[in-house]
Amino acid sequence: MSDAHAHSVAFVRETSLPPAPPPVAETGIVKWLRENLFATWANGLLTVASLYVIYLILSATMPWFFNGVWIASSLAECREILDGTTGGCFAVLTERWNQLLFGFTYPNELYWRPSLAFVMLFAALAPVLFFDLPRKLLIFTGLYPFIAYWLIWGGSILVPLFALVGFIVGYVVYVRLEKTSFAAGFFGGVGAALVTWAIGGYITPFLSGVLALEAVPSRNMGGYMLNMMLGVTCVSLSLPIGIALALGRQSSMPLIKWICVIFIEFVRGVPLITLLFVANVMLAYFFPPGTGVDLFLRVVIMITLFSSAYIAEVIRGGLAALPKGQYEAADSLGLDYPQAMRLIILPQALKISIPGIVNIAVGLFKDTTLVSVISMFDILGMIRGPILASTDWNGVYWELLGFACVVFFVVCYSISQYSQWLERRLATDHR
């Protein structure tokens, strides 16, 4: 019986089967390829087409790049070394390195000064860009413009020193008077700074030898240095102006509002190049007769006005994005307008506007190449002018233009990556 029973139960598995490996098509690299590259016929065709495009690009550039000649004194010599094979003539970069970076009239023995200023720029920017760094470093950031001016332009240290003293005096007066009212503090500070600068302007010509570096006039500056100088100066100058314009545009006072609106819309409606024309041929007419304001300063003025209008629009967006409750809360606390703006509104609005401001900064930095059109020798002006026109390097287009692309790409791409990082960092909403 028991036998019969034993036979009636066919088979009972007591252990579970080991898991079978997934089908080959559903695992590992094959699955990835199937899902991401060959999901459908059309997709597969696209993949093949893309691979072909990549092949075309690489096959055109790789031999050119890796077979390049880095040491030669002219294009002819370069071609001799290459001897008919494909290859770039990167020797132009090594031979004209200093010209590309500093322009062709900056004194050779003084290259260390702008280089030092460039290195110090990173130290000055670091505490602004990364909030985790100790706040004390901001003191160096505050000093940097004056140090950089002294290093790049040279001359007596008294000029930047008096400029600095003017700011300090203005700040001290502002702090003193600010307790009575913001307006008194602000205008008192500005007045005190102006008085200091006037005194300084009167004194410095007599003491021009004090701690003087060799002076270099702005017309001798060029190359990538000029792009960096224009970009950094104009962005930092246009921030406060942009904030003022944005607040003015939001103002309830019609006259102030319309002045700001007309200025912003006018500047945004015309191309930068026309403003550079203004700087080049027209602005000199508006200065007092006899004052020869140099081209660099005129260009800085116009680019600053240009970018401040764009920054104003970005900040206005930030202001508009704040809930109305913030304004009302500030009012209900009894804060007056300057206090409400400084303590409640602007910190939040600026935080929202940071990505936009960074975008404007990147755009502005790229636009500094436009000065080559009004015959300033920035990096593009150097390439198209003195270097390509020289008998040694006439015809070395791709190496030079490629270099310009690389230096701009590196800076702009890192800034935009920083902006994305900052956006993630500042995102305080919970998701």
Partner: protein, 412 residues
């Protein structure tokens, strides 16, 4: 700040101008007005003094005098004896031409790249990301110079097309890419109305017919919609619409005797056809790919802004994928895409002023370049130049705002 204020009664004190909110904004505005007036007066007096010292005056009479220079690419008749004003008009038309062409192609590039960047295909989306990052982060002026260099340094001269052992040949025997420009077949009418000079009338006729077809197809679609709403059955409109589009225009072109003037090598250069100059192509193409990268980002953001629930809801209603796209996703995405697209079009128009770097005769190069240098009328030229761009910018914004308003969410 003062904590208590005595009731002021009817008396008015000077300090109330700053401390009383009723008067403060008036005071501040009065101060602003005075400061502004003083600043303008100061600038004006400087200007007047400088002009007097240089022996100049402000006058627009130079616009009527002969320009005295040639322009290689013109849309209207122009020679060196034409006035400066006409040179400026040639420049205006050239600006509008390149801006229009670049807007169209930049939109095509941008939409393609933006959509492809969202593709499931890993390689394609990475390739598009590469395109966007490369072109966004390098100045447009460098791109213009690069493409212009390709035009003049890489493309062969007309000589290379000559002889039995020609090193270059024309594409399909229709297009010639040379370092002097690209030659394409030019259409003309053998039986056109108005003889030699009447080509504009003929082209207007073509445009009128095309616009007529557009309205006719819209009417057909509207009728189909009405029938569908009334009966539930949508009549087939595809063949009717195709017929409305193609039959009238083909008939018209046949009546007018459309013919193609194919460029051919004559002597040392190509003759016949339409010559598109190297500077125009460089500017057009560079602006298109540069701005296309920005538009791609706008398109991507716009499509991503439509939540997935919308697509799913549309599918749940039983719509097919292409109708989901055209009826649900696209209308909502366009609402996000259009405002930044407007500013990209504005940017193209403004960036077209970089023509001066490659010698394309737009308004900046004619009025702001050669005319300015020849007449020395810097202030007048720059003012006119700014005025032109300002008007164009305002017009584009106004036009696009109208469109934007018609697209935006109707809230009731």
């Amino acid at each position: 700040m003062s904590t208590t204020t005595d009731p002021q009664g009817g008396t008015f004190r000077l300090s109330m101008l700053l401390n009383d909110t009723r008067y403060r904004s008036m005071t501040l505005q009065a101060i602003a007005a005075i400061v502004l007036a003083l600043a303008l007066l100061y600038l004006y007096s400087n200007l007047a003094a400088n002009l007097r010292a240089a022996g100049l005056n402000i006058s627009f009479a130079f616009l009527g005098s002969p320009a005295g220079y040639d322009i290689n690419q013109t849309l209207i008749d122009y020679n060196s004896q034409s006035t400066n004003l006409r040179a400026a008009v040639v420049g205006v038309l050239n600006t509008l031409l390149v801006a229009f062409l670049a807007c169209v192609t930049a939109t095509v590039f941008g939409v393609l790249a933006g959509v492809l960047r969202l593709s499931n295909n890993w390689l394609v989306s990475k390739l598009m990301a590469f395109y966007v990052e490369i072109f966004r982060n390098i100045p447009v002026l460098i791109w213009i110079v690069i493409i212009f260099t390709i035009m003049i340094a890489v493309l062969p001269g007309p000589r290379a097309f000559r002889g039995d052992d020609a090193t270059s040949s024309m594409l399909f025997d229709l297009f010639a890419f040379t370092n002097r420009g690209v030659y394409v077949p030019g259409p003309y009418f053998t039986r056109g109305i108005g003889g030699e000079g009447g080509s504009i009338i003929n082209w207007l006729l073509v445009i009128v017919v095309l616009v007529g077809s557009l309205f006719a197809t819209r009417a057909v679609t509207a009728r189909a919609n009405n029938i569908q709403a009334a009966t539930g059955v949508r009549p087939k409109t595809l063949w009717t619409n195709l017929a409305i589009w193609f039959v009238p225009i083909i008939a018209l072109l046949f009546i007018l005797g459309l013919s193609w003037d194919v460029p051919a090598l004559k002597g040392f250069n190509f003759a016949g056809g339409i010559k598109v100059g190297g500077p125009l192509i460089a500017l057009w193409f560079a602006l298109s790919i540069y701005t296309g990268a920005f538009i791609a980002e706008n398109v991507r953001a716009g499509i991503q802004a439509v939540s997935k629930g919308q697509t799913e809801a549309a599918s749940a209603l039983g719509l097919r994928p292409n109708r989901v796209m055209s009826l649900v996703v696209l209308p909502q995405a366009l609402r996000v895409i259009i405002p930044p697209l407007i500013s990209q079009y504005l940017n193209i128009t403004k960036n077209s002023s970089l023509a001066i770097a490659v010698g394309y005769a737009d308004i900046t190069a004619t009025l702001g370049g050669i005319t300015l240098n020849q007449t020395g009328r810097a202030i007048e030229c720059v003012l006119l130049l700014m005025l032109f761009y300002l008007v164009i910018s305002l017009l584009i914004s106004a036009f696009m705002n109208v469109y934007n308003n018609s697209m935006k969410l109707k809230e009731r």
